[in-house]
């Protein structure tokens, strides 16, 4: 088993872990972490496409042999930009999560979706089709809102863009 196979299996394993994490978790923060794993797996896979065992880093040093084989610089440059873009994307996702947490006070994907639909329906005046058995009614009647939040909602107009703790 060559070193390339081990590295490639590692990269594919990271991709697998990230994807599975995205599907399994309901917590949005854990989904972002899974996305980070997925991203590093993809980056590794791309950079391994230019890797081979006898190749040296693509940097011309004084005294290095002229004909020495170098690894492919293109995947390295691609991944270099991809990493920085990844940081930006993660920061944006984190900012959205912070606002969601401040406004809805939950990180659970299903609950967030329920409350968003509820708020959208309330803002647009369109009633969402709901029955006593629908998950919407079930979740809403249970524990999402603490008492003070419910009180706020009775009063009606919590403006979007206002922090929940403001």
């Amino acid at each position: 088993m060559t070193i390339e196979v081990v590295l490639l299996i590692g990269a594919i394993g990271l991709i697998l872990l990230g994807l599975a994490g995205l599907f399994i978790h309901n917590n949005v923060f854990r989904m972002v972490l899974a996305l980070v794993l997925l991203e590093s797996g993809v980056n590794l896979l791309v950079i391994l496409s230019g890797f081979y065992r006898s190749g040296v880093a693509p940097i011309f040093l004084t005294g290095s042999e002229a004909g020495q084989a170098m690894t492919d610089p293109i995947p390295q440059a691609l991944v270099l930009t991809a990493i920085v873009i990844g940081v930006g994307v993660q920061a944006l996702a984190l900012a959205l999560i912070l606002r969601i947490k401040a406004y809805y006070n939950t990180l659970d994907m299903a609950e967030i979706r329920q409350q968003m639909e509820y708020d959208l329906a309330a803002d647009t005046g369109v009633t969402s089709p709901a029955s006593a058995q629908s998950p919407d009614t079930l979740v809403r009647s249970k524990t999402i809102y603490s008492d003070e939040n419910k009180h706020e909602h009775m009063q009606g107009d919590k403006k979007i863009g206002e922090p929940a703790n403001g």
Binding site: F23, G55, P73, I74, L98
Partner: protein, 241 residues
């Protein structure tokens, strides 16, 4: 059900990738695109670090697009979190929770980080490193004090100025190349920006300048991003209630 189908999908994708990997010929270069660049870039661009040549000479516009993405992410974070920060910054008088060692360690680290960051940016075309890596280190150097000391706040005005100037310089150097009938953003040589010898600090024409602008922009962008997230009221532990 969603979990099962999701797991099946990821398992299938991993299997597909593994099957493709099993068919690769190992022990030799898998991709042949880079070999030509390795041969021509020392003469065409004159950087010892071929990755820098690819990044700025052969894929300059992609790098500009990457800066645009980073700018979009930073302004998106500013849009989402920004006014919370500004509403909060006036009454920010919380107690220092950091200990003596953390405070002094930060004071010691900041100049070192600045030196290392600028070194990595300036020598990006001759050694491993460059604008992105050095920029991230610069961002940490600016961000670290705001993380440790509660009274230290990043000057967002200054950060914006640096960011805008660096971005403008990057594009202006690109336009300057067009003045001499080169392609947009292509590094070029003249009497001031010499081609030099392979591996010298003053070599590769305008490419180090491009790298410097890139590094400053990345550093300012990331420092602003990090400080905006760190200043979020719920994270600083103070509630307005």
């Amino acid at each position: 059900m969603r979990n099962v189908s999701g797991l099946l999908f990821s398992g299938g994708l991993a299997f597909l990738l593994l099957v493709m990997v099993a068919q690769l010929p190992f022990g030799q270069p898998l991709m042949l695109v880079g070999q030509q660049i390795l041969q021509v870039s020392p003469n065409e661009v004159g950087t010892a670090n071929v990755v820098a040549a690819v990044l700025l000479a052969y894929r300059g516009i992609d790098t500009l697009g990457e800066l645009a993405i980073l700018f979009t992410a930073a302004s998106g974070v500013g849009l989402i979190l920004g006014h919370l920060y500004s509403a909060n910054s006036g009454s920010n008088k919380k107690v220092d929770k950091s200990g003596f060692i953390t405070l002094k360690g930060t004071e010691l680290m900041v100049p070192l980080l600045l030196v290392v960051g600028f070194y990595i940016i300036f020598y990006g075309h001759v050694t491993p490193g460059g604008g992105f890596q050095g920029g991230v280190i610069l961002a940490i150097a600016f961000f670290l004090p705001t993380l440790v000391r509660s009274d230290a706040h990043l000057d967002h005005q200054l950060i914006n100025v640096i960011e805008g100037l660096a971005g403008a310089v990057f594009i202006l150097i690109g336009l300057w190349a067009m003045l001499y009938h080169h392609a947009f953003l292509q590094p070029f040589f003249n009497s001031v920006f010499v081609k030099g010898h392979l591996g010298d600090l003053f070599s590769a024409g305008t490419l180090p300048l491009l790298y410097l602008a890139l590094g400053l922009k990345v550093g300012a962008e990331l420092a602003g991003l990090l400080s905006m997230i760190a200043d979020f009221p719920e994270l600083t532990g103070e509630q307005n209630k």
